[in-house]
Symmetry: C4
Subunit: 267 residues, 4 copies
């Protein structure tokens, strides 16, 4: 027989960590998601000087509210996780606190404690950790496993594709450097500078801040731009094939499962 404390802990655990795959988000989880998204939006908008000048105090009050809410959620999770046999007792709580998502939860609170107003680079960088709070949303997605699984299965092909891209980036940067260095020293005066051009061209971003001017430079730049299509087509093709296979496997599994163990289907 369970005590009141155990039953409360159990229902808090379900409210915060969810029942399983089928039943969707609980009310507490939904509130948590909305709070995270709102806090990220407030944090992002709060870096804009125009907004700070107009709504500074309001933003600071919202910040205080978020830090209280998140701290409360963090402590509740730490308490409720004991309902899970794996994280029972003090040592279980410590193990949970050191788990990936618990650490992200903690990192999402810490930057708040450094106060608002501070404008130094260090605090700004710490602020970025709050954006990581978004990655907690990943926990709620079922499709993630299929997509990430398919990408993981093709990691060698994707790595090969990235290595090839790196080679093409280096080669085209090297060629453009040797051709354009004298005419265009600001953009092609060294290979690292030419790499900046090479990356923006091969990814087809093309800002236009570094553009070859000589005939030979333009010929090699055109070849680089065309190669860029191939470098985009390759990971796309690899991912398309991987997803195609993964979705087919999922479908086959679903069909097999729906026929049940007593199914006597014949092919």
């Amino acid at each position: 027989m369970s005590t009141l404390h155990e039953r409360l802990q159990r229902s808090t655990y379900i409210a915060l960590f969810g029942r399983g795959d089928a039943s969707g988000l609980t009310l507490a989880q939904l509130i948590s998601v909305v709070l995270i998204l709102t806090s990220v939006t407030v944090a992002v908008v709060g870096t804009e000087p125009v907004v700070v000048a107009a709504f500074g105090p309001t933003l600071r009050n919202l910040e205080t509210g978020f830090v209280i809410a998140f701290s409360f959620e963090y402590l509740m999770r730490l308490w409720a996780v004991g309902a899970n046999p794996i994280y029972k007792g003090m040592s279980g709580r410590i193990r949970y606190a050191l788990s990936f998502y618990a650490l992200i939860d903690l990192l999402a609170i810490i930057p708040f404690l450094f106060g608002w107003g501070a404008q130094s680079l260090l605090v700004r960088l710490l602020r970025l950790f709050r954006l990581l709070a978004l990655s907690r949303l990943i926990r709620y997605s079922q499709a993630m496993r299929i997509v990430l699984g398919a990408m993981l299965e093709r990691r060698y092909e994707l790595t090969f594709s990235m290595a090839l891209s790196a080679c093409v980036i280096l080669l085209s940067a090297g060629v453009l450097y040797s051709v354009e260095a004298d005419t265009n020293p600001a953009a092609f005066g060294s290979i690292p500078r030419a790499i900046w051009w090479s990356v923006t061209t091969l990814t087809t971003v093309g800002y236009g801040d570094a553009v070859p001017r000589t005939v030979l430079g333009r010929v090699f730049a055109a070849l680089t731009a065309v190669a860029g299509i191939g470098l985009i087509a390759m990971p796309t093709g690899i991912l398309a094939a991987a997803f195609s296979q993964a979705f087919k496997n999922v479908k086959d599994q679903d069909r097999t499962r729906s026929q049940g163990p007593t199914g006597n289907t014949q092919y």
Copy 2:
């Protein structure tokens, strides 16, 4: 036995709403499509001051012609739809008038009634509704169902891919903001400003109005640009896999159907 009114209503219904899948567009539907496309073109071109200065009166006459034609078509549809047992009688007409496509038809007429000449932002925005008239063309496409169905089936994967993109946009905007804010305040002075750069880079648009200038900023910008390839490759791969499956299913269904219920094919 049907009266003359019923037979006329019936043939008008077929002329406006079509017979079914097989027989293609009727003459009335074709005229309607051409009129919609022409009216959209006239509306679009009619916003150009140079054109208005030269052909103002002609454009206004064309506008009047379109509003009469579309109003006539709308009233004819409202009358003829009674030939369909589902929309019989006055209550059926009201139900039809509140259906999605009938409302779009109505919204495609209303802006005309506000007159030409007016240059305020409100009327301009209402004018945009006329562009919605284009969405009526979707009704004529059979391929739409396959394409939209395949996209709907993979909505979780596409949502996950969009959520991941949002995270990457935020993260790269945050990093660039903390690195470039002091050097380049106009483009990276706040995270919302950096998001504009981040979106144009990750979508590989790359206008070039916001470009990092520091070495560290360019290193992270290059990583962002490369990540952009992955973010484009992911939905492309997901859609490719979904279409591949959808087209295969359609083909299998067609083959099964063409064999008929008495088919005794063996494999």
Copy 3:
């Protein structure tokens, strides 16, 4: 028994039109391909004032050489095609001369006859027809049929995808026009002007000559840029699925054929 004329005509026919699928290009065809590519290169380079100033007479001599070679090839084809029973006699020759490729061959010669030097727009446009000579190379490709066949089979889906793109282009142009027209009249002063921005953004080209400046304009522009990814992903996915099916069909046919009519394979 065939006369000398018939045998010569027959071997000229084979030299110019090829034996069949298996044996590759004949020497005459190879020379023809090289000549076409060279003539196109010369025509292209010959429009550059710097090159004309330096190598004008040489270019003109080359042009004369090409027109003689192509005219000779054209007349030889006209004579040799009689070896094909379908194009026998005078009426056969006329039918051949009116065929698609024969007309392109003729159009590839005509611009030469207008002389060099002329700089008017009309002759320049006629010059472009010479570029069509390149399309004759398509004749030599076997893979073309698979690629074009797969695209033709999905023409409804591709049309739907293009119609959707057109709607998105119009809508985003309309929105940006109503938001940015007053701030940025040169780039967004009318919907046609905004369409130029919309196309360069949705295709992710992003020249940067038309960029929104207001906050609201940038929000909608960011949404447009993201929609651009979807609009690129859709035809890519449709084509990937179509090619996947087409290549599988070709492979299945090859396997069936290689088993021959006496094959008794079981599945």
Copy 4:
């Protein structure tokens, strides 16, 4: 019975050339990879005047270290390769020295011997050969064979797609030249100049250094930009289909192999 020399040669061979597919990289190979990547990074960074001014002597010392290490590795490979029966004896060594990878290894050393400091174009170009050292890394990748094999199998379709791209590039360059040459001579004054615009547009790079200004020019440029999507979608679709097939074949082979020759599986 093998002598000490033979056993040493054998273990050096394994250390440098690897045991086979299964056991991954040996320690010597790992050191080699790290050295190559470091040397490439040093070579790339060493072209930046700012870095040379600050760390010139350090870079030169590193260079000397790399040339010694690579020369040592090259000589060791030349000696150890004799353990392979195919490359036994002096004539075997010469055959190995003339093999593709051995020549790349040699080319990766030679540029070092020309000394640092020299800033002429020739040495710069020779320096580029060192970047080829990166291609040695390809040797370590297993996924390469699948990816390259799939691309090789579809070489006709990819060639067709490239030929079509070339035609579209030429045609759009020709049209833009005839439309924009008078208004915009710097960017569209000749077809070769217009090709630069055409390539940057069709690959969706869009630097913005060459942009059409006339209405007609923008209409054709918009069509070119839209065609660019198709030209990117085509190779992507072809590659996706090829990879999909290749991965399926590999999986089928793996399954067949894992069932072994005594497998009596039924379907």
